[in-house]
Structures are given as C-alpha cells and as structure tokens.
C-alpha cells in the first residue's frame, strides 16, 4: 500500500493537471453546496430576525389589544349612536389582575390627537402609558429621563419622545430637553428621548419609537376630548406579564375565555402570545428548511452524477496509466484509493468553492432583497461533510471500475 501522504499528492497532482476540467466537473457540487449555504444563511437570518422581533414583544407576556370591530359588529352594538365604544375596558383589566400567575399589567392608550408639524399631520401618536412601559417594552432612554412617579402624581405636562417621533418633529435638532411639543391647546415639556432598538412592534399601536409618551394621569385630567373620530376606547394595549412562563398558555386561555364572555359578539379585541408565535415560526421554519434542503439535495445528486460520469470517462482514458501502475506494483486498493480520493478531493474543493459561492449569493440577496443572512459554523461543516459524502457515494463506482482494469488487457491495447 502506498503511503497516505503520497496518495493525496498523487490525486491532487492529477486534479491540477486538468484544472479547467476539474472546475467544470465540480460545478454541480459548487452550486449545490452554494445553494445549501445560501439557503441556510437566509433562513437562519430570517429566523433570527423573527425571533428578535418576537423576543422584543416579550416572551413572558400576553398582549391583549383593542381593535376596531368590523362594520356589522359595530351596527349590532352601537344602537345607531354616533359614538362608538369599543376595546379593552378598565373593568377587563381589573379582572385580569385578579387572575393567577399575573405579575403586572402595563397599559397604553392612544390619545388619537393629531400631531402636527406646520400643517402636516404626522404619523406620530400621542399615547398615555403606565410608568412601567419603558422597561416592559425593552426600550431605553438615549437622553433625558423617563416619566417619574412625581409626573404621574402631579399630572405634569411632560412627554418623552420616541426616537422616530423626535426626528419627524425636530429633524436633526439636538438639545430638545426642556423644549415643548404643542398638542391641541397644551404644551408638553420634553423630558427625555426614548429608543427601542429591539424592533418591538405592537398590534394596532406599532413601533414605540413612533410614539410621544405622556403619563396616563395627565391624559385623564387634561386631554378629555381625545376622540375626534367619534370612538371611545379606554385602553388600546395591555401588556400582561406572567409570573411563570410555563403556565403562560393557561393564563392566555383564561384571559381569552373571559374576554369572549365579556365582549361577546363585539370582535373588538384580540390577544397575542409571542411565545406561541415563536413556536409557530419555528414550525414553519422547519418546513421551509426541509423543502429547501430537498431542492439542494437534488442539485447535489445531479452534480454527483455528473462527477461520476466524468470519472468513468477518466478511468477509460487512463487505462494505460492504471495498467502501468499495476505492473509496477500498485495494489488494486492503491488504484481504488487513488481514484476515490481524486473524486472526494474534487467534491470537497467544489464544496469549499461552493461555500464562497453561497456566501456570495446570500450577500447579494441580503443587499438586494434586504433579507439578513447569518452563517453558522454548523452550516459550513455540514455542507463540507455533504460535499465529501457526495464524493464518496459517486466516486466509489468509478474507483472500483479503475481497480478492476485488467493490466494485461490495458497494456496490450496500445
């Protein structure tokens, strides 16, 4: 038997002899592995992005929110008055608080006041929140301070601007602390700028960065006529934090059954459990991965068959070399190993090139389709192992064929 090191250099030498052919041969594997890498990177990126978004909503929370009921439901319940009452009520929240496993409830109420810059109405919302909102929404202050108990007690005319709200109102101006925002006839003093960089996005309410926050007490005392579109809502959003995440589904079920009873036929609320969404996402993700990997494996099989074909042709072409080697003392196993290692090297080098191709493809997707790509060492090792495996599977037959060449016949056929 030939020494392994010599075997390796022998096989490498043969591949480098036919550089163009080797590269063309391994194209199938290059693209196969490339698509595996790109697929894994994109799906991993999408997964992490989704996870981060859901995580931002808080996996220990149940989000109960008000939504505008469909027209039929409105007509049934409104008794033809202009004013529409809908959504979460103080009574609902009070009942949630009595349930087991509830740690805290943080509420938000949209004032529905138009926020103007000059004559333009901005998409910014003015919302009254409980004091716990900053922490519960995983936001942080980038300057100034959050609302204080004193603000609540004194019903102060103060506000905290979300980062985007600040940009819309004041563009690039700095040192806004102490300046005021005019809402209706009131001027609200800016005490802080808040940023939410975890990507929280609440149903019906949206991104905390787009909100101007005021203490809930201030709203009740000063901005009473807050419903210009003839609707009245007590709360838009409540973040119900549970004590034990293991029983979050039970708690959600209890809230749901309470709300179904209390708001029968109104369809003016809904409930989201981020943890459940997370599990659903994972399930869809798995299906996506299975589908994508079957497509990738088809391309690898096709690539492998291509390689087998070329290797068989190469065995035929190199009969004289094989015969001579056998006459000079090569064992059948030496010939088998030589050809098998050639194929495995071919697919493995193809795999390495494929990894770069895959990174290239996923980077293009990231740039042009704005989908993040995440590479894991796991995906790189897996695809190299797959490339290697393809080489073994499709290289065995040509290598066996090479080893079976009868040296007498091939030496005679000159």
């Amino acid at each position: 038997m030939i020494l392994p090191r010599d075997l390796l250099s022998l096989s490498l030498h043969n591949l480098f002899l036919h550089k163009v052919r080797s590269i063309l041969t391994s194209l199938g594997v290059i693209f196969g592995v490339g698509s595996v890498i790109a697929m894994l990177a994109i799906s991993e990126g999408a997964k992490q992005k989704a996870l981060a978004q859901l995580d931002a909503l808080g996996i220990d929370k149940i989000i109960v929110y008000s939504k505008k009921p469909p027209v039929e439901a409105q007509q049934q319940n409104s008794n033809n008055t202009q004013l529409v009452n809908y959504g979460l009520t103080t009574k609902d929240i009070g009942n949630f608080a009595k349930m087991d496993n509830i740690a805290s409830i943080t509420k938000l109420r949209d004032s529905r006041q138009p926020i103007l810059r000059g004559l333009n109405r901005l998409s910014t919302k003015l919302a009254a929140v409980d004091i716990g909102f900053m922490t519960e929404s995983n936001s942080k202050m980038i300057s100034g301070r959050w609302l204080t108990p004193a603000d609540y007690e004194n019903r102060s005319l103060v506000c905290v601007l979300g980062e985007n709200a600040k940009r819309k109102l004041f563009t690039l101006q700095t040192n806004l602390l102490g300046k005021t925002v005019k809402v209706g006839k009131y001027r609200l003093r800016i005490v802080g700028i808040l940023s939410n960089d975890v990507g929280a996005n609440y149903p019906e309410v949206g991104d905390p960065n787009d909100i101007i926050f005021i203490p809930s007490t201030t709203m009740y005392s000063l901005l009473k006529n807050y419903a210009p579109d003839s609707t009245r809502i007590e709360y838009d959003l409540s973040l119900v934090k549970v004590q034990d995440i293991a029983y979050i589904d039970d708690t959600a079920k209890r809230i749901r059954s309470y709300m179904e009873k209390a708001h029968a036929n109104k369809q003016d609320w809904d409930l989201v459990v981020p943890l459940d969404l997370l599990k659903q996402r994972e399930a869809t993700q798995n299906i996506f991965t299975i589908v994508m990997s079957s497509i990738a494996s088809i391309s690898l099989i096709v690539g492998g068959i291509g390689i087998m074909n070329i290797m068989l042709a190469s065995v035929f072409e190199r009969r004289k070399e094989i015969g001579t080697r056998r006459a000079l003392g090569a064992q059948k196993s030496d010939i088998l190993c030589q050809f098998l290692i050639e194929t495995v090297l071919l697919t493995t080098i193809g795999g390495v090139l494929g990894i770069f191709t895959g990174i290239g493809i996923s980077q293009l997707i990231t740039i042009y389709a704005d989908m993040p790509s995440v590479y894991s060492s796991w995906s790189i090792i897996t695809s190299l192992a797959i490339a290697c495996f393809v080489g073994i599977v499709f290289g065995t037959y040509p290598a066996w064929k090479a080893a079976q060449q009868n040296p007498i016949e091939v030496l005679r056929s000159e």
């Binding site: 038997m1 030939i2 020494l3 090191r5 010599d6 022998l10 030498h13 043969n14 002899l17 004289k320 070399e321 015969g323 001579t324 080697r325 056998r326 006459a327 000079l328 003392g329 090569a330 064992q331 059948k332 196993s333 030496d334 040296p407 007498i408 030496l411 005679r412 000159e414």
Partner: protein
C-alpha cells in the same frame, strides 16, 4: 552452479484461455531455468505465446497448470495482492513503448515503484537521482518525458525498473520503438547492467538480437523449441 543460483524455474507450465465452450491452449508445457546474473532472450514470432509467457513471468497472469518458481516463491499459490507486491519488489518491468507517466518528471517517474513500496520521500528522491545518474540522465531530472528522445525515455524506464532493486529485469521488446542507433545504445545499457550483476529477461521477436544473450529460449507454438545454454558473445 548450485541450486540456490537458480532464480526462475518454469516446470511444465501451461496456459489455456477459455472462452465459452472453446479452450485455446497458448502455452503447452514450458520448461526452463534462469540462473542469477544471466542475460536471457526469449525469442518468438507473434502467435508463439510470447506475450502470454511475458505476462506470466511478470506475474500479471497466472498459469493454468505447471509451476513458476521465483527464488523460492511458488507463484500459483499467491493472491492478487501478493502478486502485486512481488511485481513491485522482485520484477523490473521495461515496456516496448516505455509507459512513462507523461505528466511526471524524470525523477518522479523513477520514484513510482518506490511509492508503492512505501519508501519515504527523502530516500526515494536520493535513489531516483542516483539511478538517473546511472543511466546518464542526471542532467534531465526535472524534464518531462515529452521533452526527451526515445532513447532517453527508455533509459528512464530502465532506471524506474531498477528502483526497488528487483530480482530480475523483464524487458518487452525494449528496442522495438527505437531506431537502430538508439537500439544499440539501449542494448549497451543492458549489457552494462548485466555486467554489474543484474539478471535480465528480454522478450523479443527479433532474431538479430540473439547474439546479445547468454541464454536463448525460442518459443514456437507454445513450446520451448530449443534452449541454448551459455552462449557467450
């Protein structure tokens, strides 16, 4: 000469090819002995069974009947892997069309049999350089066979055959692809090797080479017609 001086012994060796119901006897009972250090010529026309005998002597093929004893090894008892091992260590093949590896340099070509004998790289290189010098190609080590003349190619092949210090050299029409002048040169090389102690078995159809051999074995119709012992030049 004593018994131990006998290197190769063929006893009533037969080879029959079977193809379906047909059996074609090619070698019909070959008997001869080759002593160490002799230069033997096996001469036969095409169809005489020359190639088959060459294959058997070279251990690429096994006889159907009879015995082939090399030193004290009985060939018919050996497995495919053992045969490869003996080819590697005991037999130095020299082909009519050289059979060099076109993409390897002179040095690498000479190293090939040592590769299969698991000789370490450093030692291989040393031996290859030494052998290249012996066949007067020390200045051609890095050349590829395509850059060499026919005579030079055959000298590389001879060096390659010698690399594992075989029991004998087995040359198949080594001058068949060469012109007259180069043929003489190659035959001179064989004589030089012979004088330094090598055993050489040369298979040829060319009766003109007869005068070169110590011992001539004529093949006709699968039989050794006549063994001329100890013909001296």
């Amino acid at each position: 000469m004593s018994q131990s001086d006998i290197l190769v012994r063929l006893v009533n060796l037969k080879k029959t090819y079977f193809s379906g119901p047909l059996s074609v006897p090619v070698l019909k009972g070959i008997n001869f002995e080759v002593k160490k250090g002799t230069f033997v010529g096996i001469i036969g026309t095409s169809g005489s069974g020359k190639s088959t005998l060459l294959n058997i002597l070279g251990m690429l093929d096994i006889p159907t009947e009879g015995k082939y004893i090399l030193e004290d090894i009985e060939v018919e008892k050996l497995s495919d892997s053992e045969l490869a091992n003996i080819r590697n260590r005991k037999i130095g093949f020299i082909f009519q069309s050289f059979n060099l590896f076109p993409h390897l340099t002179v040095e690498q070509n000479i190293e090939v049999p040592m590769l299969y004998a698991r000789v370490p790289a450093k030692e291989r290189r040393q031996r290859a350089i030494e052998l290249a010098k012996e066949v007067k190609l020390g200045h051609r080590l890095g050349h590829k066979p395509t850059q060499l003349s026919g005579g030079e190619c055959q000298r590389v092949a001879v060096a390659r055959a010698l690399s594992n210090r075989p029991a004998f050299l087995l040359a198949d029409e080594p001058t068949g692809n060469l012109d007259e002048k180069t043929s003489i040169e190659i035959m001179k090389l064989f004589h030089a090797l012979h004088e330094s102690g090598s055993t050489i078995i040369m298979v040829t159809h060319n009766p003109a080479l007869e005068s070169h051999f110590d011992q001539v074995i004529r093949l006709r119709d699968g039989l050794t017609e006549d063994t001329v012992g100890e013909v001296t030049q």
